[in-house]
């Protein structure tokens, strides 16, 4: 029978609430549920074992015998054993329930128990008190109990956590055989542990089951795993290459001062009397309707707009148009936009794309130093693309290209990071990927961020200054 959850809301002792869950697990499917810490993945699978208070929605098709192994269930069992101890009014030293009794509880298959005790090499502790076991040992006992209870649905929340390599591969093999008879749902935090027999992956975010993908959809699977990697890995933003970094000329001046800016094409005025000062450490969000000149403002700052020479512009201590080169300006800016991605049609490797950020070039035309290569590889690891370092950039998916270009922009730890609609043109999962990366950068970086975006759901925490541009009156069609 298919297990079916529709519009389900569950409350967990008012600490946590699962929201709007839609999920169906057919007879021959095996799922892994994953997501960041606190996203609700353990709560989700626990509902199938009767945990949580169902507030609304329908949950149907649950089999009669469901077994759950989780830290919470483990804690409950230990708690129960401790209570037995408390209840003991006799003045003797309680030794607690021995392991073999715990294993014989309920309707278990004795043959399976002894088989697994042998496989886990636990024979030596059958006589010991359950309470005296280590966490790892308790976990193994829980697994044996669950498997031996002949469940129709086996739910394993982080079953591989804390297992040594030998035991891990034994258990994986065992589960693979078991999966031919028993439906298995697991919670896993590490994407490299997903067993072969798993057919579907679900991704939890903020108490919602956000994505459900069949493993046969390889692209979608890879996106999910990458998102998981970014959300859960504790990797730090890689350091920059000190040798290829120049100090700001005058660190006490604002990064950018635009004075009374005027940009016009023929008769069409795009900007007039526009002023803007960006101080160091002041994150800004720039918004305005299409055609209001947002891109013009950004390109005046980056030096890509030819009229930057006929305006009064200070950037990074340079008063534009006084003999500085465009490369002297660009070295202080990291820049990401859809337009950049269109221009970056280069058959070079992912590693080289990141290194090109040190040189502000599209493609790489200079031999990279060993340090730069090292840093590029650290970024690739952060993005979860280490294995693809030598792949060609133009063979990458659109979303992966965007991630890589953000890393390229950040590789030199620029004083100013300009993100021009970094989520534009991305599907939901890739938007999540990009936002996860940007949040990581904002949390760890010293860059002042200038963010252009329309969507309020793509807001980035930490931005407190807002600049709005109105469309110039000459630029509105009547």
């Amino acid at each position: 029978m298919t297990i079916e959850l529709q519009e389900c809301y569950f409350d967990f002792e008012q600490r946590f609430e699962l929201q709007d869950i839609h999920w169906s697990v057919t007879k021959h499917q095996h799922w892994v549920i994953t997501g960041a810490n606190g996203s609700g993945k353990s709560a989700l699978v626990a509902t199938l074992a009767g945990y949580g208070e169902q507030l609304s929605g329908t949950l149907t098709g649950l089999p009669a015998r469901v077994a759950l192994v989780s830290f919470e269930a483990q804690a409950e069992l230990i708690e129960r054993e401790l209570k037995k101890d408390d209840a003991d009014i006799l003045d003797v030293i309680a030794i607690g329930t021995p392991v073999h009794e715990i294993l014989a509880e309920g309707n278990v298959d004795a043959e399976t128990v002894s088989d697994l005790v042998g496989k886990f090499e636990l024979g030596y502790l059958l006589e010991r008190s359950f309470r005296a076991l280590s966490t790892g040992e308790t976990r193994k006992i829980m697994l044996i109990r669950a498997i031996a209870s002949k469940p129709e649905l086996l739910i394993l929340d982080e079953p591989f956590d804390g297992l040594d390599a030998k035991t891990l591969s034994m258990l994986q093999e065992y589960l693979t055989v078991l999966s031919e008879k028993v439906r298995i749902i697991m919670v896993l935090n590490r994407c490299d542990e997903i067993p072969e027999f798993i057919t579907h992956i679900g991704y939890m975010q903020k108490a919602k089951l956000l994505y459900k993908v069949a493993r046969s959809d390889q692209d979608a699977t890879r996106d999910i795993l990458q998102l998981l990697h970014l959300k859960t890995s504790d990797l730090q933003i890689p350091a920059t290459d000190v040798a290829s970094k120049s100090a700001l000329l005058q660190a006490d001046l604002p990064l950018v001062v635009l004075n009374n800016i005027c940009v016009k094409y023929d008769q069409l005025k795009v900007l007039e009397n526009f002023d803007w000062t960006i101080n160091k450490g002041e994150h800004w969000q720039l918004s305005g309707p299409n055609g209001s000149g947002k891109t013009a403002v950004l390109s005046l700052i980056t030096g890509d707009h030819p009229q930057c020479y006929s305006n009064d512009i200070f950037v990074f201590g340079f008063h534009r148009g006084n003999g500085e080169s465009i490369w002297q300006i660009k070295q202080f800016i990291g820049y990401v936009s859809t337009a950049l991605q269109w221009e970056y049609r280069v058959g070079t490797s992912l590693r080289n794309v990141i290194i090109s950020g040190f040189y502000d070039s599209i493609g790489l035309y200079t031999k990279a130093t060993d340090t730069q290569r090292l840093i590029a590889d650290q970024w690739l690891a952060l993005l979860g693309m280490k294995a693809r370092a030598d792949d060609s950039f133009n063979k990458l998916s659109f979303g992966d290209q965007r991630l890589l270009l953000i890393a390229r922009a950040m590789v030199k730890h620029p004083p100013l990071l300009i993100l021009d609609e970094p989520c534009l043109g991305l599907d939901d999962i890739n938007r999540q990927l990009v936002l996860a990366l940007i949040e990581k950068i904002c949390a760890g970086g010293q860059s002042t961020v200038l963010y252009v975006n329309h969507h309020s759901e793509d807001a980035i925490s930490g931005i407190e200054n807002y600049k709005n541009i109105e469309k110039h009156p000459s630029n509105i069609s009547h």
């Binding site: 080169s325 070039s361 790489l364 035309y365």
Partner: protein, 491 residues
């Protein structure tokens, strides 16, 4: 009337100047733009080369402004818009030329004589006049005031590419030269190098040449293999396919994009690599066809080179200038009316390999044209490096323009001089290949061969491979592409 400068040189000087061409390494440009820093650069003309070179120079920290004729300013012509919308100072000759330390003459060849005659008296004592083509000096014999330095900086790409590559952080291969008769302060080379750095050319490779070598090799390359051969080949191959009943849309597409695809292979690995893309029997077929083509066309290539060397080509073209471009405009109209030009590319899928397999004759034509142009130039005393750049190296660039918008785009992009030479070649070459084309069928253009197996005679294959690989254009190409890929290390 003009006086051909080349013809005034002694044979010894002619040979010395023709033989001038060497590759300069990146480490020869450590001075950057220093020699031009703080100098006032005034560009005459704001077309594709003028505008884009100026944008690059300004982004390199140099002081650039534009001077245009009074009429262009008053009427707010395109050149005025180009310059002013990009935030440049624009002024008349009278206003800006006297203030200039360096004047970049980036007007079309045809205007050089009147423009230079007008500005020369206004130029500052000891200033520098720069060209991007030596035609005016070499072919028209323009004499420049003795106190002025005369240099040439010629990016070997269309103006839009010059800008696009700079913005990417790279540049385009650039040829520089100093006019030996006009280097009174001995700093011509320093200025030319700084200019090449300012446009980004130093990153892609700079060739040090002479005015003479640049003009004689440039004219030869553009009118034979680069534009002439591609135009003639397009028309002949298309007409043959139509005659043999191949779908017109397919034929049009095969040719429009085929040149670009096959010469891409040429760009990476020379003629050898281009032919290596074919199966063994097809390669031998292409080789045989190209040998036949070379035999038929060699006198034509010789005639073009001879006319260029003795100045006949230039005087013929200048006569047409004086006749309001009657020939040029007539030929241009004629090209627009060819069946190939008028048939849009069909909506059919052609794989990259299919362009080779179904375009054996096109491969043979490119091989024949490249080798003939190279052989003819070097036989006339032009050094192999120059001959390589003006034949093989530029062929893919021109092929790209045909892929964009057929022959119209090619002729619109190249200089008037190249366009004039291209039509001359085309008119002579079409009848020359008439008999050859009678024996051509769809196996070599349009449908591909249908060998039951790809077996070939070992001895014959070895012979063909050896002939391909030992051609002198492959030898110098290997060396120069090596330099280039050192610079463009990882793309």
């Amino acid at each position: 009337m003009s006086n051909n400068y080349f013809n005034t040189l002694t044979l010894r000087d002619q040979l010395e100047q023709l033989g001038k061409c060497s590759f300069m390494h990146l480490n020869e440009f450590t001075e950057g733009v220093e020699a031009l820093k703080g100098k006032k650069i005034v560009v005459i003309g704001c077309g594709a080369q003028g505008l884009n070179q100026g944008l690059n120079l300004r982004d390199s920290g140099l002081d650039v402004s534009y001077t245009l004729r009074q009429a262009a300013i008053d009427e707010k012509r395109q050149s005025w818009k180009n310059a002013s919308e990009n935030g440049f100072t624009v002024g008349t000759y009278k206003e800006l030329i006297p203030t200039a330390d360096v004047v970049l003459n980036l007007t079309p060849d045809k205007q050089h004589t009147p423009v230079v005659n007008e500005i020369m008296p206004m130029m500052k004592q000891g200033a520098c006049l720069s060209y991007s083509h030596g035609f005016n000096i070499v072919e028209e014999g323009m004499k420049i005031r003795e106190d002025l330095t005369v240099i040439m900086v010629a990016p070997k790409c269309p103006g839009t590419e010059v800008r696009a590559e700079y913005v990417r952080g790279f540049g385009v291969p650039t040829l520089i030269a100093v006019h030996e008769d006009n280097d009174p302060q001995g700093h011509g080379l320093a200025l030319a190098k700084a200019y090449a750095v300012g446009t980004g050319g130093h990153k892609a490779g700079v060739l040090m040449s002479s005015f003479v070598a640049e003009v004689k090799s440039d004219l030869m390359g553009e009118q034979t293999i680069l534009c002439g051969m591609l135009q003639t080949g397009s028309i002949l191959c298309f007409d043959k396919m139509i005659e043999k009943g191949i779908d017109a849309g397919y034929a049009s597409k095969l040719i429009q994009y085929g040149w670009e695809v096959v010469t891409e292979a040429l760009k990476y690995g020379g003629v050898t690599n281009m032919l290596d893309r074919l199966s063994n029997p097809d390669k031998i077929k292409a080789f045989d066809l190209s040998e036949e083509l070379k035999l038929i066309m060699r006198p034509l290539y010789n005639k073009h080179q001879d006319d260029i060397m003795d100045g006949n080509f230039s005087s013929g073209m200048m006569a047409d200038w004086a006749n309001d471009d009657a020939n040029l405009l007539g030929w241009r109209a004629e090209t627009a009316e060819t069946a190939f030009e008028k048939t849009p590319a069909g909506d059919v899928e052609i794989s990259e390999q299919e362009y080779f397999d179904h375009g054996i004759l096109m491969v043979a034509m490119v091989k024949a044209g490249v080798e003939l142009a190279f052989e003819t130039m070097t036989a006339a005393g032009i050094i192999a490096e120059s001959a390589y750049y003006e034949s093989l190296h530029e062929t893919p660039l021109i092929a790209n323009t045909i892929a964009r918008k057929k022959l119209y785009e090619m002729n619109a992009t190249i200089s008037d001089t190249a366009e004039y030479g291209c039509y001359l070649y085309n008119h002579a070459c079409l009848p020359l290949l008439q008999d050859f084309m009678k024996n051509i069928d769809t196996d070599v253009i349009g449908k591909g061969t249908s060998h039951e197996d790809n077996g070939v005679d070992n001895a014959r294959l070895i012979e063909v491979n050896e002939a391909l690989r030992s051609h002198p254009v492959e030898h110098i190409g290997g060396i120069l592409r090596g330099h280039m890929s050192d610079m463009k290390a990882i793309i």
